[in-house]
């Protein structure tokens, strides 16, 4: 819901063509997945950060991402510290097992990789309205039925959530409260009274929706038009040019600094 609401705002990033954003995101993801080079990954993250205020995405979104990720990051660093195959320089021991500097650095690099990939997602989803994204996908010649299904699924998310909360309330009124159950009881008895009404209600609603969709001429023959304009603007060209320049810079840096040996990590292994 938050994403839908934020996507209605206006900013230079909002005004870009969804395909421009999609292309830049893929380029960014490709780079982040390709390299383990910590300076490069840090640069990617630093480049993304200012885009948040520019896109009018509140910082709490970042906070949420970090709070979800922090547990995973700690786990990754611990596992890699002890298990990394290239680990040579012990930092400390737990019993006889060494925790290595190489493992620590490798784990850290993996965390940066994940973080940079995840950080990029809101910059597309929270700045692009669903109709624009759908129209963008349509210009890529994806079948409209597929795109439309995706759109309706997104619309169903808030509907399912609100129905679920209504159901939870009405079962609590009959003394069925998940919060008062332990894990196993929840698994065995807890969810049935919630999920059955949810499925039945949603089936009924989607049957209604089917009638509404048919009644609005879905599936009419002939070429479909789109309300959203998909022609690239000057801003799109500028953004693409800038992105290409930045990533060309990053790749040439990687090439000149033994990118083939994957940057810092390999330095440790020498």
């Amino acid at each position: 819901m938050d994403a839908l609401r934020l996507s209605q705002l206006d900013s230079p990033v909002h005004r870009l063509n969804p395909l421009t954003k999609l292309f830049i995101m893929l380029l960014y993801w490709g780079t982040a997945l390709f390299t383990f080079n910590i300076p490069v990954l840090l640069t990617l993250i630093l480049l993304t950060l200012p885009l948040y205020p520019i896109s009018r995405i509140p910082l709490r979104v970042l906070r949420v991402i970090l709070s979800i990720m922090v547990g995973i990051f700690i786990l990754f660093i611990i596992i890699n510290g002890f298990m990394f195959y290239g680990g040579k320089t012990p930092l400390f021991y737990v019993y006889k097992w060494p925790f290595t500097i190489e493992g620590l650095v490798f784990g850290f690099a993996v965390c940066l990789k994940i973080l940079s990939v995840v950080m990029m997602i809101p910059l597309l989803t929270m700045t692009t309205t669903l109709p624009k994204l759908m129209a963008g996908l349509a210009t890529l010649k994806l079948p409209y039925k597929f795109i439309f299904t995706f759109g309706v699924a997104m619309r169903l998310v808030p509907l399912v959530t609100s129905t679920y909360f209504d159901i939870m309330a009405s079962q609590r009124l009959r003394g069925h409260d998940l919060r008062e159950m332990n894990y196993f009881k929840r698994l065995i008895k807890g969810y049935v009274p919630l999920f059955i009404p949810l499925v039945l209600t949603m089936l009924r609603r989607t049957a209604d929706m089917d009638i509404a969709i048919e009644s609005r001429g879905f599936g009419a023959p002939g070429k479909r038009t789109y309300l959203e304009e998909m022609r690239p603007s000057r801003a799109d060209i500028a953004a693409l040019a800038l992105a290409l320049a930045v990533f060309a810079g990053i790749f040439s840096y990687l090439y000149l600094n033994s990118a083939g040996q994957m940057g810092l990590i390999i330095e440790f292994q020498k």
């Binding site: 819901m1 839908l4 609401r5 209605q8 309205t129 669903l130 109709p131 759109g151 309706v152 997104m154 619309r155 808030p158 509907l159 129905t163 209504d166 159901i167 309330a169 009405s170 079962q171 609590r172 009124l173 009959r174 003394g175 069925h176 409260d177 008062e180 049935v192 009274p193 059955i196 009404p197 039945l200 209600t201 009924r204 609603r205 989607t206 209604d208 929706m209 089917d210 009638i211 509404a212 969709i213 048919e214 009644s215 609005r216 001429g217 879905f218 599936g219 009419a220 023959p221 002939g222 070429k223 479909r224 038009t225 789109y226 309300l227 959203e228 304009e229």
Partner: protein, 594 residues
Amino acid sequence: MADPIIHIANLSYTYPSEQKALEDISLDVYPGEYLAIVGANGAGKTTLCMFLNGVIPNVMGGRVGGSVHVCGMDTFEHPVYDIAQYVGLVLQDPESQLFSADVRSEIAFSAENRGIPRADILNRMQDVLKIVRLEEMAGRLSDELSGGQKQRLAIAANLIVRPQILVADEPTSQLDPIGKEEVFATLSSLNKEYGMTVVIASHDVDEIVRYADRVIVLDHGRIILEGKPEQIFREVESLDPVYVHVPDLARLSNVLQINGSHPLSLSVPEAAEQLKEWLCFGQLPPPGSIQEPAMPAAAEKPESPPVTGPDTREELAVDVQDISYTYPGTNAPAIAHISFAIPKGQFVGIIGQNGGGKTTIMKCLVGLIRPSQGEIRLAGQLLARQKIGVIATQIGLILQNPDTQLFCMSVEEEIRFGLQNLKLDPEEVDRRLEEALAITGLVEHRSLYPFKLSLGDRRKVAVASIVAMRPHVLIFDEPLTGQDYKGRYELTNLAAALHKAGHTVMMISHDMELVARFTERTLVVGKGQLLVDAPTREVFDHLDILRETFIDPPEIIRLAQALRPAGLPAGLLSIEQVAEELLKLRSISPARGG
């Protein structure tokens, strides 16, 4: 007369589930007409609407006989997307007929499917937004709209392809009074100003009398009456057996037996003037010969509302002291500084616009949310920190939509569920089960699958499953939404029976007629505040406050108010009371007596 735009000949239909829905329907609708379809739930209204744009039989299948021609097209032969250019269809549930993320794309969808060029869509969108008065909402998400706005958006989404006919299937049954008014006004302007043919299925007879040109009454899939609303709604003897609501004034006219050549008008101001003459001279003047008088002035409202005295805390079923609540993620409080006390055994109505705070108060009362300030006592005991299972044995809330709780294979199991959660012994569970089945009249349905039952009976299952837990206080949240005349009375009668059996009952409702008829006290809630708390017979005199929350008193009460200068006493709530007082007045009238 022009050729009919809709021509239905000997239409019969049976659903794929073998349920017979329509039988030998023949009907012509003419261009620019406003046709209303009335009838009990299950009479065939929705099925008939679905035929008009070909959803039946094209999408749903089933066995069909006869023919349907719309704008010259045989709807059995053409696909729905072809017919959709000429016929728009608005459904009952505002949520499930909107499937786009925002207002603009919802409206554009139909035009995009037809391949209308973008520039044209944009032009048309401006016009359409203006017609449904949603210009300021154009940039919003569908989820941010109120119920009435959502229904207007659904209308707009149909208008973009400029259909000649708009079919609306109970478009207002889930809306509050303001939403209902918005939708009826929009449909009326489409009909009167733009000449669009409108077909509406509805239970709102007062609005049908006001707007429709013609009414058909359906019963068990057949048309049993057809004609002008003024004439049809006077057929009280024919309408009562098929559970069609009769407007208050038509019923009054019937009770007073003044149906002669100049029957009682179905419009309140006209009827009031007619009745004044009737009181003096013993006969009714023709309607419309009199200028519309103004409604009674606000100055006539009674003194400050009397306090329904809390005697001692133990005798109070519910005692709410200064509660406030703000939903997480919002800034404005949903309710602020609400205080009221309800003695044991009272029947209380709670009225007000949606979003005004009614449901929030109820959720606080049953412990679903905890007020950020203030305290609640049930029978003298503080509510805070009690477990939800314990609260459920003191106060029960029956939510609006029964389908959010039904999950068992039989009515019996559904009722047992709550009792088992209370960990009662099996004998006690059985005893309470029988008791709950008996009071809700569900004994013969006990082993049926709940979803096989009608909406009214599913609501009764929800009531039974709460009543079985034996709470002293029962709260009904909008029990009448989507209900026909019969269902409304059955449910309010059930509420009244529970009240008689000793329960304290609170009923949230938009149905002013039933609130007036059954409750002894009414709370008006709006903008998060308790606006009025008074005996029901006085509440409807607070016209200024009621208008603020877009509540119109029922017709009979408005008539009684308008007749007060002629000597009718204050505080009359039902047709019977008004008729009795009118007859009394007439018998002592100087013109007749002398």
